[in-house]
Symmetry: C2
Subunit: 280 residues, 2 copies
Amino acid sequence: MTPHLHRLPPGPVDLTSIAPDAKPGFDGKKQEGKSALFALGDELSDLQERLFAEGITGARRRVLLVLQGMDTSGKGGVLRHTVGLVDPQGVKITSFKAPTEEERRHHFLWRVSRALPEPGYIGVFDRSHYEDVLIARVKGSVEERTVESRYRQINEFEAELAQDGVTVLKCMLHISPEEQKARLLARLAKSDKHWKFDPSDVDERERWPAYREAYELALEHTNTEIAPWHVIPSDRKWYRNLAIGELLLDTLRGMALRWPEADYDVDEQRQRLLGEVAVK
Amino acid sequence: MTPHLHRLPPGPVDLTSIAPDAKPGFDGKKQEGKSALFALGDELSDLQERLFAEGITGARRRVLLVLQGMDTSGKGGVLRHTVGLVDPQGVKITSFKAPTEEERRHHFLWRVSRALPEPGYIGVFDRSHYEDVLIARVKGSVEERTVESRYRQINEFEAELAQDGVTVLKCMLHISPEEQKARLLARLAKSDKHWKFDPSDVDERERWPAYREAYELALEHTNTEIAPWHVIPSDRKWYRNLAIGELLLDTLRGMALRWPEADYDVDEQRQRLLGEVAVK
């Protein structure tokens, strides 16, 4: 699978033209897809550790994976199955909920700025600053010109991040309304899934066309060279997890990560240890 | 393996009486130990998700796993292999380094208070507030009576945490100086491990007896009913990972975690979804 397969081209966006149940670039079925994801684990882990090592020794580079999508689109599944392939020590996950009172008193980028990954880390945003141009537009909580100004502010913010060593990977998990319905019904059908359901999910679902439009506009206006959007067909959970795994791997490969060189004399340290008076 | 096997009894502590290469309660060898750890994964994941679900629905309970130990004792390995068994979404890992300037301006418990897990989460401290009674004592950066006052403050702090729903699990990863030497030499022997080595590790190693004494005193004075210490023989990495996995599992089992009940009418919501006008 070539990961740029999912990269959104510049220009107006029509989400209805992208099939949510497609599996472009992958011929296999579910089990093969799961195996293919699992097979990425070793290289992903190795590259993540190189990134972490680089961070420890003073470099600024890091990765920020932004996950957006409608309810049930599987942000949690990506965290568990794809991000879960690498050492949790090197990962910083932040789930953004409805803003708290304190967050609302600040600029909308304040809370995301505080959640950025440190150098060497892979940061993951489960929802993000994009909520402030999605739900905000759909619910009309801010004026349209404010939303448009936010697009610009987001682009500037992400450009600054890139300058500070952050590779921003933005993924929209694209599901169909039929698939969402099936997933919501599945949550209702099992008592150990009831906690995942909220009646407001159905209210939000009724605004599906408005959300789609809000996504299309947000994707179009923030699909920059430096921080492009990827639309991941997500009706098949295994394909979604694999596609994001491939994308993350491709991103890390592209960083040409190398193990840091020792900034001390290795032989001298070895001699110190070998020649020491017994430590008891 | 009965996890309370590692629970430190009250009273003075003599670490030399606990064999770092022992594997109490487990008859098997390395491969069996690794399989036994892996076999805990499903139940650990299930219980962690119940804890998370409970947190989402308003409960305050959470777990805080505190990992302490000399350099190379394997705090990172526990994070990767044991904590890595559960969904990274429900885990909050904090690695404490030498305090920053800002942290030094505050009370020593300030930075740990800010890193506590939210309700529903498993928090992990890779080093912790215990550094302030360990390295601080060894280096003499604070007076002895300050260290003693800190023991009391820690006990009060942990008692407050317990009252606020935090189950505090404290583990000291116990290795021998010989094993540390071998691990440091192994880091020096491989260029992809050089970044993990710091010449100051050898300086610290030379104070081994002072650290042991500082650990013994700290363990003794903070080994409370509500937040007891566990000393984990850690010369065998696989045993260490397994022992902490068992301890975590036992802790979660003891919490009698149940899936939250729906606070909405499940049938009504199902009807809403089934009866909706087609969403497109």
